[in-house]
Subunit: 235 residues, 2 copies
């Protein structure tokens, strides 16, 4: 029994070919000693180039996956290996995250690691994979992990408290929760379609890392984990 956490449509991708030659991208890549198409698109540095892209408001924010992953992987639930974490990206890749991975806390190093991952398909190159990436859309990911129930969190969903949601999914064998990994806008239709329920838990949109941390904590509460761990012998 484990919770499946999916950060969906994440604003994480390599620089697309159509802006690879833009000065703001080319100069930045050169400084890193990489080809433009080997580095992550990042609005903080490629703002001008991004104006040429479609849906720019949903793209180029690798910090969202970084901070959300640090939140999620640091939880007691993950330390108990009761959490399976996936990052689905806006261009339909899926990164499978080993619960044991220790991601760089430094953002630039995190980006370097993800760039390595794109280049090699997995990190590290040999031995047990800590991160692996493949072309997969959300529907295919769902077929692969085969969750007993899928809940997506969105301000367009029907209102329900997180406490009620988590009491319900705590009864499930392997429920999946979907949180948006993009800064603005809404899920695509195709994402909403794979969810059994679309729920909103607040009157405003919450950042991915805020909603992710409370979903996992509330799920822990519903399954009695905090109490159980507290009274275990100290490590």
């Amino acid at each position: 029994m484990a919770l499946i956490f999916i950060l969906a449509e994440s604003a994480l991708e390599l620089v697309p070919k159509e802006v690879a030659n833009h000065p703001s991208v080319a100069k930045y890549a050169e400084k890193l000693g990489k080809k433009p198409t080997e580095i992550l698109l990042d609005r903080s540095y490629h703002h001008e180039a991004m104006k040429r892209l479609s849906c720019p408001e949903k793209r180029g924010r690798p910090d969202i996956a970084h901070i959300t992953l640090l939140e999620v992987l640091g939880t007691p639930l993950n330390r108990e290996a009761l959490l399976q974490t996936y990052v689905h990206t806006i261009d339909d890749r899926v990164i499978k995250v080993n619960p044991a991975v220790r991601l760089p806390r430094n953002f630039e190093r995190f980006k370097g690691l993800i760039e390595q991952l794109y280049a090699a398909g997995r990190v590290p190159k040999s031995g047990e994979a800590l991160l692996s990436i493949e072309r997969l859309n959300l529907k295919e990911l769902k077929e692969k992990v085969n969750p007993s129930k899928v809940i997506a969190f969105s301000t367009v969903g029907k209102p329900k408290t997180l406490s009620d949601v988590c009491s319900e999914i705590a009864e499930e064998e392997n429920p999946a929760v979907i949180v948006g990994g993009f800064p603005h806008g809404h899920f695509r239709e195709s994402t909403l379609k794979i969810a059994d329920e679309v729920i909103r838990v607040d009157k405003e949109a919450l950042e991915a890392w805020v909603i992710a941390s409370r979903i996992i904590y509330q799920y822990e509460l519903a399954t009695g984990l905090p109490e159980k761990r507290l009274w275990q012998a100290r490590l």
Copy 2:
């Protein structure tokens, strides 16, 4: 009635004079076009230089304050202006954080902003302060904000569930919670002394951003905020 959140002994400081001339620091500062003593100490870049410092294991991790502040400032509690946030640093400065501040999501820009703050004492230079900094130790901060109760979270504390802690402090007029803003080790004696209770809520040490997010969410639960906001008219 508001919750006071204090990130204490945070691993956030300008490069100290004794390592300002170390090559790893001097080169990095030059690249930024700043003096070494005007930039933040950051283990990711100044690891070698830090070997010369006392207590290096508790220093040079500005990412901890960054990620924790993003978590904390994005909560519904903060959006309701029911949260007062302070970052106390290892060298006894206190940064007062305006609930309305929108911090840079990009780590390098966050560091740039904090460096401006150290230089000017406040950000922005005129108008309402979004961040301000002064020399203050934790005891002085406590006298200033005058909390009705102070709870510090530490693995050396007495075991209690977060749910019990928050039910208790929800009854208080202006309770303060203290979370460590450093990567390893424990609070100083002087920090523990200002707390009415020292509590551990898990068998292992949790990262600052993980414990911070669950304290605030659990406090929201104890005060009925999630339910209240959910059923308010949508903005």
